[in-house]
């Protein structure tokens, strides 16, 4: 952890800046910005109190960057209003983008934004952020009193939210959306045809010919982003092989991929592909979701942001509902575990100039009022308790229903947040399995080999989970 090379770099930059000033004022400005030390903790001046637990300084500014993806950014503007109602003299500079990494990563080492919603295809790798010490632990946020309800912030969160944001024993990521994943279907169509959503792969394989007879493909998936089918594959693995098997996989335990139940789960998917139950062609997430809305396929698997993402093109007479991922049946070790958890993570960079306001802003995001607005605007649950209580929406209601029947354990996979290499490999292999170029057995062999390689690589920081 030597800082000397960096100091050298800075000195050089300053010299270059001096030279640059002779050449062009713009160049001088730029390098001055890159070389200067970010202002340290100007927030400490603010008075700390129960009502202002981080000591937000009056007249300061906080820069908030929102990921403008499936959930949009309207909900964040509501949080801004809530925050500003309490702190009228604190300026919130909010911007939204889909290019989180492209725009925020270059600033992380010098002058980052204060609040960054790190989500989407272009997100910054979480394990790297943690290992590099680039983001701030937010345990004090959890311990702070809740914005507009009793108890602490931690008390207001749904189960799994703290765990999903915890790395190496510290809470780093505030995941704001509580997402439920599963298989979506059009309930109007299913009622009309008298079909019931399957619970197991066997149910699905029995229903599939009837769906095909209607000129529909039974299933469509996102062939561009490997992490879409990966959710479904891993959910089946969890249901079939049980929680401990997945924990072992995440912990890179020897032969974890060869545990009982893993292979049969993947073989069910192999059969789905081999039996030609997929919509022909290779589509991305929105194209495949549109194909499903257009009635070309009966099932699609995705999270609860679906309705908001496709809001503009849902045809009349289409009622989307979510059902649980399919298990294998009697042999399942965890048939009732639902894939749900807090997603869409917000982080505070370690070098953020106004951390107090950043944390206070997050407290506003997790407020009762903010969460209710979130659920209302996005048709997704917030990661706080009771956010969806007053929202009338069939899709949201079906997700609520699914959660009510869920067992106490939630399916959660850490592998791809722990290791960038395994993230890439598991995405690639999931796509290959779905493309029919890989058998389940080959998938297991290749994942095991990749996991062993990471386990042996001393340049990669290892992470573990207990539950």
């Amino acid at each position: 952890m030597s800082v000397t090379p960096d100091l050298d770099r800075r000195t050089l930059l300053r010299r270059a800046a001096a030279a640059g000033l002779l050449v062009t004022p713009a160049a001088g400005l730029l390098s001055a910005c890159a070389g200067s030390t970010p202002s340290q903790n100007d927030d400490s001046a603010g008075e700390k109190s129960n009502d202002n637990p981080f000591g937000v300084q009056d007249g300061s500014a906080v820069k908030v960057v929102i990921f403008n993806g499936g959930l949009g950014d309207a909900w964040a503007k509501e949080d801004q209003a809530i925050f500003n109602a309490k702190y009228p003299n604190v300026t919130v500079n909010m911007s939204s983008t889909q290019k989180i990494k492209t725009e925020e990563q270059p600033k992380m080492a010098t002058q980052p934004s204060d609040v960054v919603m790190n989500s989407g295809a272009d997100m910054m790798d979480i394990s790297t952020l943690v290992n590099e010490g680039a983001i701030e632990p937010l345990d004090d946020l959890l311990a702070a009193p809740a914005w507009d309800s009793e108890g602490t912030v931690a008390d207001t969160l749904l189960p799994g939210t703290v765990g999903d944001g915890t790395y190496q024993g510290k809470f780093f990521v505030v995941n704001v959306a509580y997402t439920v994943w599963g298989n979506w279907y059009n309930s109007v169509l299913f009622d009309k045809e008298g079909w019931t959503p399957p619970k197991t792969f066997d149910d699905f394989f029995a229903l599939a010919p009837k769906i095909k007879a209607k000129g529909m493909a039974p299933y469509v998936y996102d062939a561009v982003h490997g992490y879409y089918p990966r959710w479904a594959l891993m959910a089946t693995v969890w249901k079939s092989a049980g929680k401990q098997a997945v924990i072992d996989i995440d912990n890179l335990k020897e032969n974890a991929w060869r545990a009982e139940g893993v292979l049969p789960a993947l073989e069910a998917w192999e059969k789905l592909v081999k039996d030609k139950l997929l919509l022909p062609g290779k589509l991305d997430h929105t194209q495949s979701q549109q194909a499903w809305l257009d009635g070309k396929a009966a099932f699609i698997q995705v999270g609860t942001w679906l309705k908001n993402e496709m809001a503009a093109t849902i045809p009349p007479g289409f009622e989307m509902k979510i059902s649980d991922y399919w298990g294998l049946g009697a042999t399942d070790k965890a048939p009732n575990d639902v894939y749900a958890g807090a997603g869409e993570g917000i982080v505070v960079p370690a070098k953020a100039p106004n951390k107090a306001a950043a944390k206070e802003f997050l407290r506003a995001v997790l407020s009762k009022a903010g969460s209710a607005k979130f659920a209302e605007l996005t048709k997704s649950l917030a990661s706080t308790k009771g956010s969806g209580d007053n929202v009338q929406d069939a899709a949201l209601a079906s997700a609520n229903e699914l959660m009510k029947n869920a067992s106490s354990d939630l399916i959660s996979i850490k592998l791809w947040n722990f290791y960038a290499d395994l993230d890439k490999e598991s995405q690639n292999l999931s796509a290959e399995l779905m493309a029919g170029r890989l058998t389940a057995a080959q998938f297991v062999d290749k994942m095991q080999a990749a996991a062993d390689k990471v386990a042996k690589d001393s340049s990669i920081t290892k992470q573990t989970r207990d539950a």
């Binding site: 960096d6 160049a27 080492a109 680039a134 022909p280 290779k282 493309a435």
Partner: protein
Amino acid sequence: MRHGVARFVTGFLALPVGLYLFYVVWPFLQAAGYSLTDWGGYSDRQQFVGLENYVRLFSDELIRKAFWHNVFFLITVPLFTIALALFLAFLLNVGGRGDKAGIRGVFGSGLYKVIFFFPQVLSLVVIAVMWQQIYRADGQGLINGVLMKIGLISEDDPITFMYDPEPFLGVPAVLWWLLLIAVWSGAGFYMVLFSAAMQSIPKDIFEAAILDGAGRVHTFFRITLPLLRDTVSVAWVYLGFIALDMFALVYIMTPSQGGPNHASEIFASVIHFNAFQKGQFGYACAIAVALAIFTILLAALQLRITRRERIEY
């Protein structure tokens, strides 16, 4: 007087050279510096590790794969682009019927020139997005849609373009489809380049050849091509650079940026993965520096081989 001129020239050059040093040469040097560290890219912590990154580079399977894919582009992109551009330029300038008006291009060559040059006006990202629609891997894609309408392929079996890693002539199909875009988007510019060079060849040489009874093919291979040698050689170097890059197309168009399952991995996509996804900036910089050295050597070699006596006319 001479001294005054030097000051005058320096005055003009100071600004551009200064900008170039600051924005181009300095970042290059920085990257070379980072390549000797284990910098992660998200913090200001870094440690000097010497040549460790370079040693690691040689045993990286992914880089080996990317290397061969880049070599594929290095051979095919210049070859096909230059061949197509030469063919088009020849037809547009001297391919037409020779008559009283002298040597000229085929009928309507002015219009063709504009059409062929058009892709050059578009940014590479626009081209990639446009071709995504052309290559869309279901019935709504341009190519698939047309082929399905005329019944050449079945609706259940569309061409999968960017999702097809099956080898064709030993090279993943996805690379051939990318090559088609690269050639399509590049040929127009080199056509104009070659056109300009052809127009500077005196017409009487062509007229003399025609009087001696040479056909189009003979004229092309015996006169045009030898006289264009310098231009073609420069074009080859430029296209070599493009072939070693190819990042925009791979990044925008292929699944998981280099997929399916690494079938279209190139140097640039490996650098991107290591730097921005894996958080190993130091290692990524080492790959980039290795690529830069490789590129410079290649360009030097290329210009050396093709150097010949100039023909003055």
